[in-house]
Symmetry: C2
Subunit: 173 residues, 2 copies
């Protein structure tokens, strides 16, 4: 059985890092709580909207993200029971490609390079389960979609939801 | 209809570049003709076998490959008729990830970043046609496999074969 796992906001805490980077660059004090139910860019002043993504294109951002709580331990077990593939829509940010590979080497070395996918669009994935925080990825998936809770998707209701890695363990292990 | 196209030895002339690099580094004069029916490493002295791959791990090799004859023109047309995705098993060579992305930007800018896949193992691809030079990729594919002729696969008989991009055009356009 093949399980695909998204990276950003599922394995890696991209959302909080994004807010931190924004606050640092713009001297702001946005919190995750204020963003609940929204994308970060929707909660910043109009004049910041165009440049808020800048750090996605710069060296280091994706390399230094924190792994999500319990993700390492649970993925280690999932990896024994399923064919686990990491599937990240990374192509929009070319500098992230090597950084994501190295980040996996550091935090998830048990995910073999054969089981890593960097793509643009996930509709080409053939497998049984996809754990992702983005509806547009889950909608096109032909297997069982699992929505991983992220601040931006708390109002999404049309998918089976997992709120954290402990719940993934309960569901799949 | 989704068509996956492999990069090395299908879109990019990796085999000849591999021989050229080998000859340059080892002062050898191996030719493609001598290699027919084999992998390059099978045709070099025993003491070279371990280091013959060195340039795959160094900067520049994948960035400077020549596109295969007629590949640009035919892919441009295929891209109008099908959903074309480039699918390259690149994960073994981490430095190739960005280089392959940039190489596509240079030679195949009409292949959108959404339609680019860098992976380790192609059994996770869901689509209709896969054009690839490697049997192990084609064997696990659930759609229609097309074997693209490369010196190493000339004795492979169990797949429908395309010898060059003109034949791909005849077959699919």
């Amino acid at each position: 059985m093949i399980v695909f796992v998204d990276m950003d906001e599922v394995m890696a805490d991209t959302y909080n890092a994004h807010i931190e980077q924004y606050n640092q660059r713009f001297g702001a004090s946005l919190t995750k709580e204020e963003c609940m139910g929204h994308e970060v860019w929707q909660k910043v002043p109009l004049e910041h909207k165009d440049t808020i993504w800048q750090h996605y294109l710069e060296d280091g951002f994706f390399r230094t993200l924190r792994p999500m709580e319990d993700s390492i331990e649970v993925l280690k077990e999932l990896n024994k029971k399923y064919k686990v593939y990491v599937a990240s829509a990374a192509m929009q940010f070319p500098n992230s490609l090597l950084e994501k590979h190295q980040w996996l080497d550091e935090h998830f070395p048990f995910i073999h390079w054969r089981n890593r996918i960097l793509c643009g669009d996930k509709q080409i994935l053939r497998g049984d389960i996809l754990i992702d925080d983005r509806s547009h990825n889950l909608e096109k998936f032909k297997g069982r979609p699992l929505l991983y809770t992220s601040p931006h998707n708390i109002h999404t209701n049309n998918f089976e939801r997992v709120n954290n890695w402990k719940e993934i363990a309960d569901e799949l292990l």
